[in-house]
């Protein structure tokens, strides 16, 4: 009985957290369809596919709120040496023929056909039923083949001993890591840290949600505006789409 009670309480709490997040986000913009939180131990829902729609026209050059939020959430140093981990970064683009400038965040695209997963010899790289691509830190042998295979340079190798354990995700020297789509938050019914931070800055460049739910804000938006996936020629079906490229 008490166990059941506990579970109910947990669910209530996480729903509460989700609600707070939704309220704190700019009004009128549904960033996240709060289907429900995922109770611990329950498998990811295969009916869901988490994804993002990034509106480059809303993203401000020089703003790095999403990057800082990710670093804080996951305990990354924020340093930018070539050996430092960067799960999300800002790309400053300029179109070669028109000279048009674009700024946008870049991170793991959570491919439906992820080459990183295909090549991983140990199965440490894996895709959850809900489309989130992760690295099992206890299984990764640090061969870096996934980094070679990823077309988006989404992954980082931990080159040094990890001293900061403040992040939500376990990290370990000698293993590979990348954006988890803030799986720990998503499972609690809360939007990823970058999404929240972007909205807090008033930019609303990142829309997060369930691509499989036709009624979700993200699915509706994708139906109504022209969006592209990066390197669509590779047929990896990324979960992240972009507007304005």
């Amino acid at each position: 009985m008490s166990c059941n009670h506990d579970q109910q309480r947990r669910q209530f709490l996480s729903r509460g957290a989700a609600l707070t997040a939704a309220v704190s986000i700019a009004p009128g913009l549904m960033l996240y369809d709060f289907a429900r939180a995922r109770p611990p131990g329950e498998a990811a829902n295969p009916a869901v596919r988490w994804g993002m729609l990034i509106d480059t026209t809303q993203c401000e050059s020089g703003c790095d709120a999403c990057v800082s939020a990710c670093n804080k959430e996951n305990g990354l140093s924020g340093r930018t040496l070539p050996t430092d981990s960067q799960w999300i970064r800002k790309l400053e683009l300029q179109q070669e023929d028109t000279g048009r400038k674009i700024s946008m965040p870049m991170m793991c695209q959570h491919c439906a056909e992820p080459p990183c997963v295909d090549v991983c010899p140990t199965g440490a790289s894996f895709k959850r039923a809900d489309g989130i691509v992760l690295v099992d830190k206890h299984r990764c042998i640090g061969c870096r083949y996934c980094m070679m295979a990823c077309p988006y340079k989404a992954r980082s190798f931990v080159h040094e001993p990890v001293t900061d354990h403040s992040g939500a995700t376990p990290r370990g020297q000698g293993t590979v890591e990348s954006c988890t789509l803030c799986v720990h938050r998503v499972d609690q019914g809360v939007a990823p840290a970058c999404v929240e931070a972007c909205a807090r800055e008033g930019h609303q460049a990142i829309l997060f949600g369930n691509l499989n739910d036709p009624k979700s804000a993200i699915a509706q938006r994708i139906r109504s505006v022209a969006s592209v996936k990066l390197r669509a020629d590779l047929n990896l079906d990324p979960g992240i789409s972009f507007v304005g490229i």
Binding site: P82, H159, G174, R231
Partner: protein, 396 residues
């Protein structure tokens, strides 16, 4: 007189060589231990160039391990005496190189302590995982083959065993080529030409290594290689060198005209600074043209010329692999075509990479392992190619 003196001091030379080999191995192990303690931060590798100098060494050794067997396979499968006399030595070299290459590959992992995970959690879609099977299989098949060659009672089995090794190593080298060929997003690697290129490279490098070791063994024993055999082996090396040149040229031309990787090709072939220099100077001139001259120029082609040619072929091998592996990664990925790009993560920039002493030591340590195995092997077992002059006459 001289002969006896050498026999007396020979054992000392042997221990000296062994000590040298072991010292190199030790340096490699220390480097690996340091890399595990401090992380790959003490290497030159980074998030853009994720495979560095150790991979150049490892892939060189693994590819050569398969190729050196060519000498053996031609012997057993096609029943040629000259090659057959060389099969045991080729088998030993193969095992030694494979052991060295795998050691480097393993110790360069971020978590070498977990290498067993690669076996307990096997991902059947991974080319890397296939290669784990192929490499262990090569150990087994070559071991079996050596046994059939060295144990007289097993003689009848050497032909099927040789065939098995032949098939296995072709698949293995294809597998090594596929490690790169499957990297669809990288301009340097996504090419169907890589498996055949790797196979022909393996023939070339394997034969060059074989010729060097054979030269050393004959000199050590104060013997002279039969000129007919010498000529045959050197011509074969020349043929292989030309074939690799041809395939490398085709690879670059298809990249240029078929896949339209013009920017990447411009980088490697004309504007890549160090990489361009290494490609033309190291691989094309020193590693291919000069060896061809040494082999085929009238008046040249004697034992010492062939030795020098073989050494240069290996220099060319390292140059080519360095340009292929490191240069291929240094060139930035094309994530948003049609745009120039800047970021804090090196997007759109050529990555810089400079190997550190730890990587050199680890790579050399792998060569050291191969060296020690060969030195001990030829000392305790009879691996010297014995050419029977009568069979030579009949055979040719």
């Amino acid at each position: 007189m001289h002969h006896r003196t050498f026999a007396q001091i020979e054992i000392r030379y042997f221990y000296l060589l062994l000590a040298f080999g072991l010292a190199v191995v030790l340096a490699g192990l220390v480097a690996a231990q340091q890399m595990e303690a401090h992380g790959h931060i003490i290497s030159g590798m980074n998030n853009q160039v994720v495979w560095g100098l150790p991979h150049v060494f490892a892939i060189f050794m693994i590819v050569s391990a398969s190729g050196v067997l060519n000498v053996a396979s031609v012997g057993s499968v096609f029943g040629r005496h000259v090659y057959k006399a060389r099969a045991p030595l080729a088998g030993l070299l193969s095992l030694a190189l494979l052991a060295g290459g795998l050691m480097v590959l393993m110790l360069d992992l971020g978590r070498p302590d977990r290498v067993i995970v690669a076996i307990t959690n096997y991902n059947p879609t991974s080319v890397f995982a296939w290669n784990v099977l192929l490499y262990s299989g090569l150990f087994a098949t070559v071991g079996l083959y050596l046994w059939t060659l060295m144990d007289r009672t097993m003689g009848g089995w050497s032909k099927p065993a040789g065939l098995l090794v032949f098939v296995w190593r072709i698949i293995l080298t294809t597998g090594t080529g596929l490690i790169f060929a499957f990297l669809v997003a990288r301009q340097a690697y996504a090419s169907a030409l890589l498996p055949p290129l790797f196979i022909i490279m393996s023939f070339t490098w394997g034969l060059a290594i074989f010729l060097i070791v054979q030269f050393a063994m004959f000199s050590w024993n104060e013997l002279q290689l039969n000129p007919a055999i010498q000529k045959r082996l050197k011509n074969l090396l020349g043929l292989f060198v030309v074939s690799v040149l041809y395939l490398v040229a085709t690879y670059h031309l298809t990249n240029l005209y078929f896949s339209r990787q013009v920017a990447f090709e411009r980088f490697i072939l004309t504007q890549g600074g160090f990489y361009t220099g290494l490609f033309w100077g190291g691989y094309v001139v020193l590693g291919s043209i000069v060896p061809l001259l040494l082999i085929f120029m009238p008046g040249l082609g004697q034992a010492r010329c062939v030795l020098l040619a073989s050494l240069l072929v290996l220099l060319g091998a390292f140059s080519l692999l360095y340009v292929f592996i490191i240069g291929g990664q240094a060139f930035p990925l094309l994530i948003v075509p049609g745009y120039t790009v800047h970021s804090s993560f090196g997007d759109g920039q050529l990555a810089s990479y400079a190997p550190t002493v730890f990587e050199w030591a680890l790579g050399a340590g792998g060569l050291g392992v191969a060296f020690v195995i060969v030195t001990v092997g030829v000392r305790i077992l009879n691996f010297l190619p014995h050419d029977d002059p009568r069979q030579l006459m009949e055979g040719n």
